[in-house]
Amino acid sequence: MKRRAPANPPLTIQYRQVFILPTRFGWTLALLMFAMLMGSLNFNNNLGLLTTFIVAGLALNSMLMAYHNLRGLRLLHCTAKPVHAGDTARLVVTLSDQDGRSRPALEIRSHDGLSGFDLDGINLETVEIPLRTHQRGWLSPGRLRIQTSHPIGLFEAWAWFWPAQRVLVWPRPAENPPPLPRGAGDDGGRQISRQTDSDNFHSLRNWRPEDPVHRIAWKASQRHQALLAREFRAEVSEQVVLDLARTPASGLEQRISVLTAWVMQAHREGIDWTLNLGKQSIGPAHGERHLNACLRALAEFGQ
């Protein structure tokens, strides 16, 4: 792990990268220990000294434990589901450890939040870290501070992770977008209907004499003690073309915002669509994959 630049996971925390300092409480206890030490030394009170030194031993051990709780920790990878700008992305960090040790009470802090977790030494652990997003495009999570004050909060040990992984931030969909440009213009949109014969099995219904024999669902009929027929639905499919140049909005960001809303609406309605962003054209197609491709293109556009 390089300290000064982002690096790709997997990253392992080496001993040089662990910093450690007493917490506020740690300093308070140090003060208390000093008072105990002075008192016991002055009165030459050996049991008092022993108590003081036990506290000192506790402090020393908790320093070591905090340090060892971090050292050798491995960050395997970071992923994040894309979100729309303005939403909080959840950076999913997967961690494990090299030595099969359990590591309790760890925390990861980003600019925007903190989340705690334990490693049990056997399984991988995933942690979600909130990241606030402001604008579309690729968001770099920046340095992540992984910290712990295990076991009794006297010392805080921390190390920096700087994953090179970035988070895709989709544009924010427009609140009240204009209606989808269905059939508008000469090639702005057209509708085709496509009859697929028996591809799309829809449901079972009671058998009617006019149904062909091969439509009878024998197995299901047996279960239901009645003749059932498979019903297929012919799918009527629309297609729209969504063009950046023709989007009714002022300013690039607003247009992209409207396009985002449209793309999502088209996906919800199950329409085929094409996205034209100047030189880049995606589609026509439908489905999740297509939606993701379009949203990504919109997020990256002009950046």
């Binding site: 009165f43 108590t51 030194f53 506790l58 099969g100 309790p104 004050s149």
Partner: protein, 694 residues
């Protein structure tokens, strides 16, 4: 009805940032235990208030009560402080300080609703534990130390969990282990904090033995008599010593260089009393003066080491007659009494040399003679009459004394613990009517008789006898061995010890105070109980010697025993740091071994041996490797026929993952023990790599 009950008993899940019941309960428990001895020493009303506040805080968690409003809190706190001041008066001392601390912490409980407050209370518990040892350092308090520290650590651990859980997602917060009362008595968390404490011990011990000690205190100690602690006082009146008689706690212990002296020589000299006002004996105004010429050390001198329990006085007990001592800033007074400059507040060890047959004060000054002959006027007419009668009979002082002792012996005088208040003519009442009493009655009456007869006499208080521990090779002197005897000044002999009690009850001197108890009074200690007590004292003695009495001098001793030269405090400090850092490595290893996993089977242990031997050659198993994969890889890496290793891996797999058979297990363990991996190619590997290079 049921809903009300349910609400009553349902554990409230804490919200974010709120204290968990477990943390609060543990903190309260730590506080209660740490404050317990302090509470016992407080006035009952005050202690009860503190306990009530602890109870209130516990209930507040259980029932979800709100914090006390500010004004009420202030009023209560002030009331408590006023109570402390009233109870202790204006005398500023350690008891007052700790009582104030306890009360303030208890007041803090009322507003203890943040993690910070909780932490403060838990960590001050350590402080409370440490301060208790200013009052009492006996062995039994070790358990108090352990319990207090353990609970405080446990509380800190639980408090830490509040923070950890706060920073978890909401989903985990609701999990029962993380919060609520179910985590309250988790044995696991107790074990964890116990482990933490045990791990702290090595560091604590290194620091303890190597931390440079102060030879001189930094600031003076308050002159304050310790509460409830008994010991010799600087005056004697009827009953003051017999009070001590019931106290079986140790007064001091002695280790002799050479054989212990016989019982009749074991007189431990305390304050010497000159002034008599008719009721009470007191020290003389010159009693603190330094003796200009202490007795010389002779061949008959006895050398011994004293281990004096703290008694809050300046007396340092020593055998007749001290020549020198190693106690810092101590002196031998004109009374041949060893005293220190400051009260003895901790267990102290010092070496003393005494010369028993020294001639002391061959010349008596006029002031001294006057004081040693002074008697209040118009008192004890019968005693005076007796003295005059004896004087006429015996011209020689020594003969007179012998006659008195004979008289004590032959007349029906009894030795008893019963304390009878004596009137204006105390010696008369005792010598002619009562004739039953404890050593101080005899010493007082004898001195009066002597003075009446014109022989300078004084009373010496101290201890006599003691229990010789054959197994421990030390003499234990208890408070109950307190004694009083006389010294008379004889021309040419100086001060000579005369013990009238010995004339009345010779057993008291030969066999110690116990013999008197059994015959005299019905205070029956069974023999085995006494035996047990003596055994316990042996442990206590070792404890005193190695833990409590460990001071700058003993530290040097200890280092020399380790074969190290004499060192300055700085050097010792450096040594301590070196030992600490040396120690950190194994500690680290020990602390962070893969823990919390199931215990290893026999086969696994044997396999671990094999892996350790390979690891010494730098051949480590990856966690994700199976035994056979590991063996195969090692064989490939070594480029050699470590076939044996593959065999072992196969056997281990069979035992670990298959159906275990006892015969195979034995065979495996044997081969694993015999397995010695060959060091990576002395003759094989380099040649091969050269070949590759070419």
């Amino acid at each position: 009805m049921t809903t009300a009950l349910e609400r009553w008993f349902r554990p409230r899940l804490p919200g974010p940032g709120e204290l968990t019941p477990a943390a609060v309960y543990w903190t309260l428990a730590a506080f209660l235990v740490a404050a317990f001895p302090h509470l016992m020493a407080m006035p009952p009303a005050l202690a009860a208030t503190v306990v009530a506040l602890i109870g209130w805080r516990g209930m507040a968690v259980w029932r979800g009560w709100r914090p006390v409003p500010g004004p009420v809190r202030v009023v209560l706190t002030l009331t408590l402080l006023a109570l402390v001041v009233i109870a202790f008066g204006a005398s500023w001392g350690r008891r007052l300080a700790t009582a104030l601390l306890c009360v303030m912490l208890a007041a803090k409980l009322m507003e203890m609703f943040r993690v910070r407050d909780l932490r403060m209370v838990a960590s001050v518990c350590f402080f409370l534990v440490a301060t208790q040892f200013l009052f009492n350092e006996r062995l039994v308090y070790l358990s108090y130390l352990v319990a207090g520290c353990w609970l405080a650590t446990q509380a800190l651990g639980q408090i830490q969990r509040i923070q950890v859980n706060q920073r978890r997602g909401q989903d985990r917060q609701a999990s029962p282990g993380a919060s609520g009362t179910s985590g309250l008595l988790s044995v696991q968390s107790l074990r964890q904090s116990g482990r933490l404490l045990v791990m702290a011990l090595p560091v604590a011990l290194i620091l303890f033995f190597l931390f440079p000690r102060l030879a001189q205190p930094l600031w003076g100690l308050p002159e304050e008599a310790m509460d409830g602690r008994t010991g010799l006082s600087d005056s004697m009146s009827p009953g003051s010593i017999s009070e001590l008689f019931l106290d079986h706690s140790p007064a001091f212990r002695v280790e002799f260089e050479g054989p212990p002296p016989p019982p009749q020589m074991r007189y431990w000299r305390g304050p010497v009393l000159w002034r008599f006002d008719g009721n009470t004996w007191q020290r003389a105004f010159f009693s603190d003066q330094r003796l200009s010429e202490p007795p010389l050390e002779t061949e008959a001198s006895i050398r011994y080491r004293m281990q004096l329990e703290p008694h809050e006085r300046r007396w340092l007990l020593a055998m007749d007659h001290p020549v020198s001592s190693t106690f810092p800033e101590s002196r031998i007074t004109v009374d041949h009494h060893l005293i220190s400059r400051r009260p003895v507040t901790t267990l102290s060890q010092y070496d003393v040399v005494s010369t028993p047959d020294a001639l002391i004060s061959p010349v008596l000054t006029d002031v001294q003679r006057n004081m040693a002959l002074h008697l209040p006027q118009e008192r004890n007419p019968r005693t005076r009459a007796l003295a005059e009668e004896l004087r006429q009979q015996y011209a020689d002082d020594q003969a007179l004394i012998n006659a008195v002792l004979r008289w004590f012996n032959e007349e029906p005088f009894y030795y008893s613990l019963s304390v009878t208040p004596l009137g204006r003519h105390g010696a008369d009442e005792f010598l002619f009517d009562l004739r039953t009493g404890y050593c101080e009655y005899y010493a007082s009456a004898f001195a009066i008789l002597m003075r009446s007869a014109g022989i300078p006499a004084r009373v010496v208080t101290g201890y006599q006898g003691g229990f010789w521990s054959e197994s421990g090779q030390y003499l234990l002197v208890r408070q109950s061995d307190a004694h009083a005897w006389n010294e008379v000044w004889l021309e040419g002999q100086g001060w000579v010890r005369v013990d009238p009690t010995a004339a009345v009850a010779p057993d008291r001197i030969r066999e110690g105070s116990r013999s008197v108890v059994e015959s005299g009074r019905a205070l029956r200690d069974a023999g085995w109980l006494m035996n047990l007590r003596n055994q316990y004292d042996r442990v206590q003695h070792l404890w005193n010697r190695w833990v409590l009495g460990f001071d700058a001098e003993r530290q040097q001793d200890f280092l020399q025993r380790l074969g190290l030269p004499e060192m300055t405090a700085t050097q010792i400090g450096l040594l301590m740091l070196a030992a600490l850092s040396l120690f950190l490595l194994p500690l680290t290893w020990f602390l962070f071994r893969v823990s919390g996993q199931r215990p290893l089977s026999r086969a696994e242990r044997a396999w671990k041996t094999v892996r350790r031997r390979l690891a010494r050659l730098g051949l480590h198993a990856q966690p994700s490797e199976t035994p056979r994969e590991f063996a195969g890889r090692i064989c490939r890496e070594l480029d050699s026929g470590e076939r044996q290793l593959v065999q072992l891996a196969i056997m281990f797999s069979q035992l670990h993952y298959g159906v275990p058979s006892a015969r195979l297990l034995e065979q495996f363990e044997r081969s694993a023990q015999l397995f010695r991996p060959l060091r990576r190619g002395k003759n094989r590997f380099p040649r091969l790599s050269f070949g590759r290079e070419l």
